[in-house]
């Protein structure tokens, strides 16, 4: 069984000089967020997003950088929408963002590790052969094998499941993926890029699953 992909390094002592803003500036920015200042959300993202992404990459060195960036974005946007979630009396803004993001990363990586652990129990599901056909398991009908494959690779995320099912059906058009991912609000080129990101992530898991299964034979 492959070890979990993430490696959590001990938390380095937090120094104010490493944060993008000093405490006073952070408090001022947070106050502006609370007041509904139209530019404060943009400034928060511009100031903290890259820093948060780098901190997560340093702390979770073997995690998928795409996953880490996605979580960093979610945490920053969430704080923009709900600034009252952060209490300045409990610590600095950068520390809050980092803790929030790290929690999401650990949850995501733990889910991946649980899925990888279940792969060992798959004995009758085979992946696509180079000829492009899914072989039936010895004792189970094809539909059940496919359902198990989807469950192991995509987990509980309904969007990942939907994307993987489209991929397994051989769907090559972008539109169906846009539909299941809810990307209607994006321009076409951004839609294609986002769809590619989702598909690449799942392809990576499929290749890993295939290596694990072949290794166990």
């Amino acid at each position: 069984m492959a070890p979990p992909q993430h490696e959590s390094t001990p938390a380095a002592p937090h120094a104010a000089s490493t944060a993008p803003l000093d405490r006073a500036a952070q408090r001022e920015l947070h106050a502006r967020l609370l007041a509904g200042d139209t530019n404060a959300t943009s400034e928060l993202a511009h100031t903290f997003l890259h820093w948060l992404s780098e901190r997560l990459a340093r702390r979770f060195r073997r995690a998928d950088p795409h996953l880490l960036d996605s979580i960093a974005i979610d945490c920053v946007l969430r704080l923009c929408e709900q600034p009252a979630r952060y209490d300045p009396a409990r610590g600095s803004l950068d520390h809050y963002l980092l803790m929030d993001a790290e929690g999401d990363v650990r949850n995501a990586l733990n889910s991946q590790a649980r899925r990888a652990a279940r792969v060992v129990s798959l004995e009758t599901v085979e992946l696509r052969t180079p000829a492009g056909n899914i072989q039936q398991g010895a004792d189970e009908p094809e539909d059940e094998n496919l359902a198990r494959l989807v469950a192991e690779v995509a987990g509980s995320d309904p969007r990942e499941r939907a994307v993987l099912e489209l991929m397994l059906d051989g769907e090559r058009r972008t539109r169906p993926y846009v539909e299941v991912l809810g990307l209607h609000g994006l321009p076409p080129d951004e839609q294609r890029r986002e769809v590619k990101r989702w598909k690449d992530r799942l392809k990576k898991r499929l290749r890993r699953l295939r290596r694990e299964l072949l290794h166990d034979e």
């Binding site: 959300t41 943009s42 993202a45 974005i73 946007l77």
Partner: protein, 124 residues
Amino acid sequence: MSDALLRWAAGRAARRDAFLASVLLPFAWAEQLDDEALAARLGCPVQDLPKLLLCRRPRTDPAGFWEDIQRIAAAHAISPDRLAEVVRLAESVLALQRGSARGARGWLAAARDRPPEPSDTDEP
């Protein structure tokens, strides 16, 4: 600063009502405007677009709308009139797309240049 990361954040913000991106990006997609075309409409450099899109969506009351538009415009060195025009148009297009012609008139009325006086009537 990684432009790609900020651009991705702006794209994700398109699905969240709190952000200006939730108005301007669906509009750009409906009008088939890429980033450069949208930036040209707004009168801002294309590299400034992600930061602009991540601003908070302007309030809907006339006085609040103009105050927010002016703040955003000042911070990004763009014309407030131009920004207001594009945002109004975007809101109207989106409201019509949602099948609410009454909603589109409401947005246009809310974004007038001055607060309504008692003698004013809604646009037809």
